[in-house]
Every structure is written in structure tokens, then in C-alpha cells.
Symmetry: C2
Subunit: 204 residues, 2 copies
DNA sequence: GTCTATATCGTGATAGAC
DNA sequence: GTCTATCACGATATAGAC
């Protein structure tokens, strides 16, 4: 790779990094093209030599993320889980939580983007159901095994996803008094046994 | 009230109604002042004779809602509940759900408004904790009674609120195959006994 | 490829006749 | 109070020199 291309790649990377920082600070919608270029120490016009729009930039960031995720998860099996097993549910939630929190800027951007389209478009609902598809399949598997689910797997999965993603978005970036593990633990207990807790006496 | 004032009030009401329709269809952020005036059959300039801005209009709508809610809830007692009682939890969720779903346009607007401020501002988290304050107090009451909660009442309450509000926002307006009662029932069961269900065998 | 300067556009908000 | 016409501004996107 020549020095010209190298410099270009450097600028592109600088723009991406700057965008991530800006998204985390100001949110996606509030971040202007000039905010990104300024934070990257480049001129406004340079942006368009690398990305057609803010939306295209987000797609590129998402592609990077998919690449990373693919590398990490490559070759991993994903057999049907039993989500009523405490360890498996906890593990499942932990993976989802760290994925979202570890890529918070992109998550924020996608969230706001889907939101800005308005609720009528139904894009948020679509995203919610797509992103919880694996979860839904696990729930359906449970139901087929004769387990009494709270209700329609699609809705239950969406409800869990809604809770997760909304919390991941809303929770302050660095919460001194609340660790990720603590949050995951609480959510796991809530989703496994509810407010009544594991010691609730069955009705029958 | 004179006819002049009556006509003015009529216009104001028309603007409000038009705004509600537009918010539900296009979302708050996407709705332009001209969308509202056009839908109300008025001129653009008339908007500013009644509201200083789109934000001020939203505040007015919110005030209307508070007025209605106050009328409905006036004189009602609100003693400490036991949220681990199936009926009480169900009732609690039903009230919250119907409040959100019955005033979906305003809810959508508030949601998008808080969101557009970006996550850094922490306004969404603030809203979430404020709106679930009553819930939190009930949970704290439970904890003081010796009940084993899944974790910190503030976080558990926020998690429940996140699930509720996100679903209320994302779920399509008119879902033919899924009634409000069905949704409330599912959420109540999920939050009461979790995925394991009421028949899970206690550890001890 | 990167820069400076600027064209273009959508939208919020106002002025002034009626 | 309502209207038409218009301004003012911020942000996107482009042009052209280097």
C-alpha cells in the first residue's frame, strides 16, 4: 500500500473514531458532519471523500462491528439452550449486554436512527424482533418441550430485548457504583424468577 | 366567551388535534410545524399565535394530559401495594400500559424528545427513574418486608419501566392479532415469575 | 486527498396586510 | 386572529485550488 493510500486510510480511520466519540457524547442525531470533522482535525469537505453521508458512515461502522463479531464468534456452536437454566440465561444476557455496552456508540446511533424514522414506520419493532430472533427460537424450543412460557415467544423475546437495549442506551456511560456484572446479575434474576423470586410457593 | 375568542380556541384545539395525529404517524422529530398547520387546515403563521414552538406545544399537550389524569385519579388512595400479588401487579401494569397506549402520541413525543437530547445528557435515565419512582417505592417496601428482590430497587424499577415504555412505543398502533389485555397478561406473568414460571422448584 | 469557500436547501420564525 | 410572504439560520453537500 502506497503512502497516499495509507494517509487516506488514516483519515478515514480518524473520521470513524471521531464519529464514535461524538455519537457517545452528543448522540447520533445531534452530531453534525462538522462535529465529526472538527473532532478528527480535518476539513469539512474531506468527509465526503470517504463517506456519502452520515448514514453511510454508520453503515460502515456497523460493517466493522460485524467483522469483529464474526472473528470472535467464528466456529462457535450455538446449540439450543435452556434459558430456564440460571447459568445459561446469565451467560446469554452477559454476552448480549457486553456486546451492546462494548459498542455503545454504534448502538446509540442505530437506536436513534430507527427512532427518528417514527413509530409509524414500524422500524423499531422490526429491529426489536430481528435482534431477538435467536432468543425467540430458544423460547419456542422451551415451549415445545412442554414448559409453560409467560406467553407468545415473539412478544416475550421482544420484551426482553426492549428492556436490555433501552437500559443499555439510557444507563450513564460510566456508572461508578454499578458494575456491568451487577446489572447482568439483577436482570438475570428478574427474568428467571420475576419479582416473586425463586422461593415462591406454587399455587397447586 | 366572545366569538373571537371562541374561534381562537377552535384553532388552538385544531392545531393540537392535528399535532397528535402527526406525532402518531410520523413521530415527533419528523413532524414539521408546516405538517401540523397543514393537517389542521391553517396557515403556517397562525401556529405562533398559539404556541411559541413545537416544544411549547408538547408541554401544552402534556398539561392537558395531566389535567385529565388528575380528574380520573382524584381522590383515589394509593396505599403500599404488594407487587408480588398477581392481581395487584397485573392491575398496576394495566394502568400504566393503558395510560401510555391511550396517550400514545404524547408518549411518542416525550420519548423522542428525551432521546434526541442524546444519551450523554442522561435525560432518558432521569425520565426513566422519575417515571418509575412509585414502582421503586413499592419495591423498597417489599424489601423492607424481608422479600428477596432481584436487586437494587431503582434498577429493577427502571428495567420494568424500560420494558414497558419501549414496547408501548415500538408496538404497532393497531395490532389486529394482539390485544392490550393479552400484552399486559404476558408482561405480568413474565415480571412475576420470570421465564421459569410459577411451578419452578425452589432450591432449598 | 485535502483544503477553503460557497452554493443549496429545509425549516423555524417573523412582518405586516387584512 | 388569521393570513401571505419572506427573512434568517443551520446544516448538507459541492466546486475548485493546491
Amino acid at each position: 500500500m502506497g503512502v497516499r493510500k495509507a494517509r487516506a486510510a488514516e483519515t478515514e480511520a480518524a473520521l470513524k473514531e471521531a464519529a464514535l466519540r461524538q455519537f457517545a457524547e452528543r448522540g447520533y442525531l445531534n452530531t453534525k458532519i462538522t462535529d465529526i470533522t472538527a473532532a478528527a482535525g480535518r476539513a469539512t469537505g474531506s468527509f465526503y471523500d470517504h463517506f456519502a453521508s452520515k448514514d453511510a458512515l454508520l453503515q460502515a461502522l456497523l460493517a466493522d462491528l460485524h467483522g469483529k463479531a464474526h472473528d470472535r464468534l467464528a466456529g462457535q456452536e450455538h446449540p439450543p439452550h435452556d434459558l430456564t437454566d440460571p447459568d445459561q440465561l446469565h451467560e446469554h444476557l452477559a454476552v448480549a449486554w457486553h456486546l451492546m455496552r462494548g459498542n455503545r456508540p454504534v448502538m446509540i446511533a442505530l437506536f436513534e436512527q430507527a427512532m427518528a424514522a417514527g413509530p409509524g414506520a414500524g422500524r423499531l419493532w422490526q429491529r426489536l424482533t430481528e435482534d431477538t430472533q435467536v432468543l425467540r427460537e430458544h423460547l419456542e424450543h422451551l415451549r415445545e418441550s412442554g414448559r409453560p412460557l409467560p406467553g407468545d415467544p415473539e412478544l416475550v423475546a421482544a420484551a426482553m430485548g426492549a428492556m436490555l437495549s433501552m437500559l443499555a442506551y439510557a444507563l450513564p456511560g460510566e456508572d461508578p457504583g454499578r458494575s456491568d456484572d451487577e446489572v447482568v446479575g439483577i436482570l438475570a434474576r428478574l427474568l428467571l424468577h420475576g419479582l416473586a423470586g425463586p422461593d415462591s410457593t406454587p399455587a397447586g
